[in-house]
Amino acid sequence: MKTNFKKTDSTQYKKYTEYNEVKNDSSELTQKEFEEFIIKSGAKGSFMVYRTEKKEEELGLDEL
């Protein structure tokens, strides 16, 4: 499947840091707490993030 946009060096990306920006006194959410919250409050109206080892593909495909 082809892509025709200008490529960036996406192997150099970093997932975005979060907790350095948090101001209130809180600890990291556990995976269990995260899932519990999502199921109770927000499972509808959302979707998953596509992940693959082919990082460029994570930005989409012109034609599939």
């Binding site: 499947m1 946009f5 200008k6 490529k7 960036t8 996406s10 990306y13 970093k14 997932k15 975005y16 840091t17 979060e18 907790y19 350095n20 920006e21 948090v22 101001k23 209130n24 006194d25 809180s26 600890s27 990291e28 959410l29 995976q31 707490e33 995260f34 899932e35 919250f37 999502i38 199921i39 109770k40 409050s41 927000g42 499972a43 509808k44 109206g45 959302s46 979707f47 998953m48 993030v49 596509y50 992940r51 693959t52 080892e53 082919k54 990082k55 593909e57 994570e58 930005l59 989409g60 495909l61 012109d62 034609e63 599939l64």
Partner: protein, 330 residues
């Protein structure tokens, strides 16, 4: 950046995949029912601007429905402007935008984006104002959108354009993304359809649609808070996820809940010098959008004109919306 943050994002990705694939059978059913229409209707690829427009002044505004949209009267500002670029509504913002006077008659390059596979979002298309302007709206829908949602949009006159939403293509030839793509290619769409990263929500999907499919640049965001205002009732944030606050889930928003501070993070936005309250779902959305903006092609400029919320960081240019409209009115 700490390894803990990366690890947390990985865990959120894993959890969201697990939660959402519980409804995988419904997605297949949606696709199966949609297939005849997919064959007979347009690919989102047809909306692509002339290739030579890329990197030129071909801007877009993505409209979300975060709290800053009301706070800063952004819909009114846009409605009164002479903006000539693309207006891309997330499905949840469509009715509000149309009612505010942001119509396809005034803004001919008008689009709406739906990616969710759930019937619950049919409310976004079930309004007289959608039926009034539908025939001049370009709709962009995932092939796994609930057929009743697409049907409402189609019956309102919206021209349907299809695309795939990526979720399991990494699993190869036996993936649903691959198999459904081959089925789409079997008739009429011999070259297939565009396939987008959703980032988990219609706002991030719209950002991808803008630069990947419509070839817009720059792409401005309004109402894409990915968080909530500090002085707003957090129950409004729950409602923004298509869920009503009920006696079953109300305990998660009680301030005496020991997990409250873990659930609802306060993030300082240095670009707009404000605070945003971010629940776990918005944390998930936020981290993904920030990551993808930072990884986007170098020719693309992303302007955050939301004037609030939690979106700031690498490759994001903050700007007041009124300044965006002045500088990029074409």
């Amino acid at each position: 950046m700490s390894n803990n943050s990366t690890s947390f994002q990985n865990k959120m990705d894993e959890s969201m995949k697990k939660i959402h694939t519980q409804t995988f059978d419904n997605w297949i059913q949606n696709f199966a029912i949609n297939l005849e229409n997919i064959w007979n209707e347009s690919s989102a690829k047809e909306l692509e601007s002339e290739n030579n427009q890329k990197q030129k002044n071909n801007s877009a505004i993505i409209i979300g429905r975060g709290p800053s949209i009301k706070k800063h009267k952004h819909l009114e500002l846009l409605a009164q402007s002479n903006y000539k670029g693309s207006v891309i509504c997330t499905d949840g913002s469509l009715i509000g935008a149309l009612k505010a006077g942001i119509t396809p008659e005034k803004f001919p390059k008008f689009y709406v984006v739906t990616i969710d596979p759930y019937q619950i979002i049919d409310k976004f298309y079930d309004d007289p104002v959608v039926r009034k302007f539908g025939s001049k709206i370009n709709g962009i829908f995932s092939t796994i959108t609930h057929p009743k949602v697409v049907s409402l949009a189609r019956n309102a006159g919206i021209k349907i354009h299809w695309l795939h939403t990526l979720f399991d293509y990494n699993e190869g030839q036996k993936s649903f993304n691959h198999i459904s793509a081959m089925m789409v290619r079997a008739k009429n769409h011999v070259n297939g359809l565009p396939a987008i990263q959703t980032g988990g929500n219609a706002g991030t999907s719209s950002w991808f649609v803008a630069w990947r499919i419509l070839k817009n640049n720059p792409v401005a965001l309004i109402g894409i808070n990915h968080g909530w205002e500090e002085d707003e009732d957090v129950s409004e944030m729950i409602k923004s996820h298509q869920r009503e606050v009920t006696k079953d889930n109300i305990e998660i928003i009680k301030k005496d809940n020991p997990k409250y501070k873990n659930y609802f993070k306060k993030i300082h936005n240095p670009d707009f010098n404000c605070e945003a309250i971010v629940d776990p779902l918005y944390q998930f959305y936020r981290m993904a959008l920030l990551e993808f903006i930072s990884r986007s092609p170098s020719w693309l400029t992303t302007i955050n004109a939301t004037e609030g919320g939690s979106i700031f960081g690498k490759r994001i240019k903050p700007m007041k919306f009124v300044d965006f409209l002045t500088n990029y009115h074409r």
